[in-house]
Amino acid sequence: MISKLLISVFSVPFLISFLIGGQPDINFTKYHNPKEINKFLVDLVKSNNTISRLHKIADTPGRNSVYVVEIGDQVGMKNKTVPGILVTANFGGINSLASEASLFLINELIKSKEKRSGFTWYILPVGNPDAAWRYFIKPLYADKGNSKPINDDKDDMTNEDGVEDLNGDGVITVMRVKDPEGKFISIPGNKKLMKKADWLKGERGIYKLYSEGIDNDGDGKYNEDGPGGVDVSLNFPHLFKPFTKKGGDWPGSEAEVFGLFKFVFSHDDIAMTMNYGDTNFCLIPPQGGRKSQVDMAKIKVPERMGKFMGIDTDRTYSMKEIMEVVKNIVPAGFEVTESMVASFLGLGAIVNPIKGDLKFYEKISENYKEYLKKVKLDGKRLDPKKAKDGSFVLWSYYHLGIPTFSMDFWTLPKVEKKKKDKNAITAETLEKMTNEEFLALGKEKIEKFLRSVNAPKNIKAEFLINGVKNGVMTPKKMAGFMKNMKKPEDSSAGTPEEIAIIDFSDKKLGGKGFVEWKPFDHPTLGEVEIGGISPLSKIVPPKSMIGDLVSKQVPFIFDLVGKLPLIKISDVKVVDLGAGVFKIKAWIENRGFLPYPTEMGKKNGRIGSVIITLNGKGIKLLNGKRRSIIKSIGGNSIESVEWLVLTVKPTSVRIKSETRIASSDSISVNVGGKK
């Protein structure tokens, strides 16, 4: 009933039908599986072929196609003049909401010329379709792996021991079994949850925990080699971790990721990325604090290199000092760059976001928080996840060198720990009370106290009051009883996430977010109990929430793209120096909020410079270059270029500014009067 009501409330904005007939229809009242999404994309492009185009970038091990849909007024053009925006979603596969958000964006762009104009939009709705399917197939379990067969336990078989839905409830949860070697206990205050016994607190383990299933290959391990393969979301190059169970053999070892490499590097117009998944760079700027391989101000030169360079290897050097030395020892004409030297010395990569970039991230985070207030989505919720090593967002920031944003759209609402009532009666306060003080509390307070300590229901306030009055009971005695009494269930025991999911499950999921522990007769483990948190319910919100969440948050991207650098020629001045010699000065302006390029982009050199060309008939260049280079222009900043030219006759020169990602501009000026 409630959900029906919700749908009808939201149906006006969210049951979106296209304005033009014959176009695919999509609504945001359910999650779409990868097949439905791909069909939607194919149909969409068919009926909108002048403004959209489909790129198949990979076939997955599970035989799903990964598509990028291109939307904009310049689709199909080879040398686009507007910046490209790459929006990716759901590399983890289990972030179904992220895919819906990308579909919502696609829909907005197709519907509105105003929204799509000025940019080329490249949108990848499902980065990991193999894993994304898991949400649509029973039993439900959280596994980010694609379908590449991986021999997880390195035995003589592959994918031979996956999970089983033993209790038939459609969800894979946990089996707990009493075992002399068990290390887990149920949390004293919250019997639903399990924790590791802490011997320091005098706790002793009771249970062993297993994921739900049987030991298919009889090796004594349970579900240790299921069908899940490589986690696509960890397969990108920046800080890629080799030799992990799920990260893949090397960065780009997975078709999904390698396909994206090829796509990105063949679309040089991409000026910004936005990833929909489990991190949120709009809210929390990229995090630093990683230990860097080398301090660039104190470089230690290996002994052999030191000998070759003729320097003392006991002390350290700055890059500048090293460059001076190197320049003197290489043969003439051999140009040495810092990057060549850095690689000779093995100095390694930048691992923390650069300060200058954090400035714009922090400002944008302020804007975003205000935005969330406006759309009333600023309630307290669990933090988004931190960006993991080997993730898309780190690759985009560090290797692509362009503004990189991400959104997570939803996490569980935070459950505030109940503040302790300072006036509440405890065993300690009770112990020190006199009979009179106790009686002075009054019936109401005493009753409240009894219920708060989980006293048996038949014990009422009157019973205690009479007891004290009759002298058979004292507050001190009561404190003694209290200490021996079972502690009440404490809903705040457990991790914040556990508390949040149980609360959310009770309030919004009709209890379906948690499977109550129930006994099960296991073929090899004997009597076990199966239960626990339903794994996807803490990641994927109920479908009734999709529409509200995406329609309110996705449009923030239109604010963001408005902040991108925009390079224009703001002014040109010609000064006549006499004798046919003219000084030409052009001011090149970045009208955007964001710098061109980012500090990281400057460092990695991937985003080319702004190229300023000067062309004109009958002019001779006395100073300056026909192709001048401006390496960077800060946000809302200006740079200039100068030339000295000689011309006999009045002429016109054309000055052009060109960038890969921040548009182009040109202007003509007369030199020596009108021609």
């Binding site: 391989q293 043969p331 850095a342 690689s343 990695n604 050199g605 270059k625 192709r627």
Partner: protein
């Protein structure tokens, strides 16, 4: 389409160019000769002819195409009569990943030629070819070799992949190559008479120059490599081909271009390299790998960066065994650790091989220009003293200037001047009257052809030695001992008589792939218990709790592994040993 057309035209053009005498593919005959360097087309002809001449021992595959669409070939040497390829230890050998390092190809061709032409003649080679499988990729970078030999260049040009890159950041790609101004096929050095120059003529040899002391008058200004300012930006030769370094583009410990120039946009952006990686991954029997380069006279092993730490002790022992032997076989070459003794590299092929594929890998840096000697015994001794003790030879990264005199005289008298281009006057559009001269393209990093045969034979011998030391495992089933009613104790011994273990210590540590298996099966028998025998005298066994009939193990080099099984029942019992690198074995016994 247009690109294919251009490549097609280039190919046709090149055939007509090389159609003449020396570089004609028709000149390639079996057995191959190693008197001079083969062009790309000649190498292709050579592998095709080898394959044709030895069809029962070899197979020719096209691994993939290069960035410009040239085929990358692999020649497999295996005797199918003695077993399938994947059931034998595999040795992978390649060369010429850097387009200019061409003699590396000759080493691989020599190895193929030597193994095939000596099969059935030399007992050791016959036995080796019967027991091992060789995968030989003579040219990893065919575009590089093609352009190196065809275009004007230096000994270091055309090294990378043909993937355009904007080296000077002006928005244009590969727009200012060096130019072979005098049309002699070499990019040499340009110099101009200029009293403000930093150099003067060397007092002992007018071909050489020395730096003048600060404040002293100079004679020559060195203007850099031969060329003009093609794009009019005031710089000469600043944006030539590429540069993606094919030996920095592999997927292990890859770092982007700003960390190390030449990395490429992402791991395996080079299409040919990706094809080769897949070729290797599909041959899990490969356990020993050799990748040839020039120059410096080195056998390098990883790690290639310091941050990788150190290799496991067991692996270091194997490397030392093979590396020291290689040093003995190729005089003057040094066995070194790549990051420590040379420099750090990220994303190189060798480290990818050993770290992700679990092979033992050597990079062979062929040739040292210091081998170009022209001295009496006395002079040699004097020279040795003069080159200070701490100098490790090899000529440094740019050739040891102190040896240049001697190299010139070596060239004059042993090479009849082929390696050095005398200074000649030239009218340069910007600099005016200049001189062009210096070391020729086919010099410095490349041995003169007369020394080639010695180089290829010695290095191929180092490969052969390592191939002989790939695992050779035998399985022995000791006589069953009856220990109860219908219960037998059966002991097995797996022995490896060679240096290389059946799985590298690194692979085992990082769990790259499953260990070898020893499986016991029988129709009417059951393995009650089984495990590794720790001490055969005290009967100490590490029994495996579950599935005792399947044991996981590695047989280390020069070593053995023993197992003990308690088997109940009667009749035939089969013992299957299966290993990626140690082959497959089957033994059967009968319990009575």
């Amino acid at each position: 389409m247009k690109r294919n057309l251009i490549i097609g035209l280039i190919l046709i053009f090149s055939i007509t160019l090389t159609g003449g005498e020396k570089f004609s593919p028709d000149k390639v005959t079996i057995p191959l000769s190693f008197d001079y360097y083969y062009s790309y087309e000649m190498v292709v002809t050579a592998v095709k002819k080898l394959n044709k001449a030895f069809p029962e021992l070899s197979r020719l595959d096209v691994v993939g195409q290069s960035d410009e669409g040239r085929n990358i070939y692999a020649l497999t040497i295996n005797n199918p009569k003695t077993g399938k390829e994947l059931d034998k230890p595999g040795i992978y050998v390649d060369g010429n990943i850097h387009g200019n390092e061409i003699q590396a190809t000759e080493v691989t061709l020599y190895l193929a030629n030597y193994l095939l032409t000596n099969y059935g003649i030399n007992d050791q080679i016959t036995s080796l070819v019967d027991r091992k499988c060789f995968y030989i990729v003579p040219i990893v970078n065919p575009d590089g070799r093609y352009h190196f030999l065809k275009d004007g260049g230096t000994a270091s040009s055309n090294r990378g992949l043909r993937r355009p890159k904007d080296d000077d950041g002006d928005g244009l790609f590969d727009e200012d190559f060096p130019d072979d101004l005098d049309g002699d096929g070499n990019i040499c050095v340009m110099r101009k008479k200029d009293p403000d120059g930093d150099f003067k003529t060397h007092p002992d040899d007018p071909r050489l120059m020395v730096r003048v002391k600060k404040g002293k008058k100079g004679e020559w200004k060195i203007l850099g490599s031969e060329g003009i300012d093609n794009d009019g930006d005031g710089k000469i030769n600043e944006d030539a081909e590429g540069f993606v370094d094919p030996n920095r583009n592999w997927g292990f410990d890859w770092a982007p271009d700003y960390v190390q120039s030449g990395a490429g946009d992402y791991p395996f952006s080079g299409v040919g390299l990706k094809a080769i990686s897949e070729y290797v991954v599909n041959r899990p029997n490969i356990c020993m790998t050799w990748l040839f380069h020039n120059t410096g006279g080195m056998f390098l092993r990883g790690p290639s960066t310091k941050s990788q730490g150190v290799y496991p002790k067991g692996d270091v022992e194997v490397y030392d065994f093979l590396g020291n032997q290689a040093e003995r076989m190729v005089p003057g070459y040094r066995y070194l650790i790549s990051w420590k003794d040379l420099y750090s590299t990220y994303g190189d092929f060798g480290e990818w091989m050993s770290m992700t594929q679990g092979t033992y890998n050597f990079v062979g840096e062929l040739y040292m220009s210091s081998q170009e000697t022209f001295s009496t015994i006395k002079e040699t001794e004097k020279k040795k003293r003069a080159l200070s003790e701490d100098d490790e030879g090899g000529g440094g990264f740019f050739g040891d200037k102190r040896l240049e005199h001697e190299r010139l005289r070596f060239d004059d008298h042993l090479n009849q001047g082929d390696s050095y281009i005398e200074w000649k006057a030239f009218k340069h559009p910007v600099y005016g009257d200049i001189e062009i001269g210096g070391w020729a393209k086919l010099s410095t990093r490349l041995s003169p052809p007369f020394m080639l045969k010695d180089l290829v034979h010695r290095n191929a011998s180092a490969i052969i030695f390592s191939a002989k030391h790939t695992p050779e495992v035998s399985l022995e089933i000791l006589k069953p001992v009856k220990i109860g009613k219908g219960l037998y104790r059966v002991r097995t011994v797996l022995s490896n008589t060679k240096a290389i273990p059946t799985m590298s210590f690194h692979s085992k540590l990082k769990k790259l792939y499953p260990e070898d298996t020893l499986k016991v099966s029988g129709k009417s028998t059951r393995v009650v218990a089984g495990g590794t025998l720790i001490d055969k005298y005290t009967d100490k066994v590490l029994y495996k709790e579950y599935k005792p009939e399947v044991q996981f193990l590695t047989v280390p080099g020069f070593s053995k592994v023993e197992h003990q099984f308690l088997i109940s029942g009667k009749g035939e019992v089969k013992f299957h040993y299966s290993s990626r690198h140690g082959g497959k074995l089957l033994k059967t016994i009968k319990l009575k």
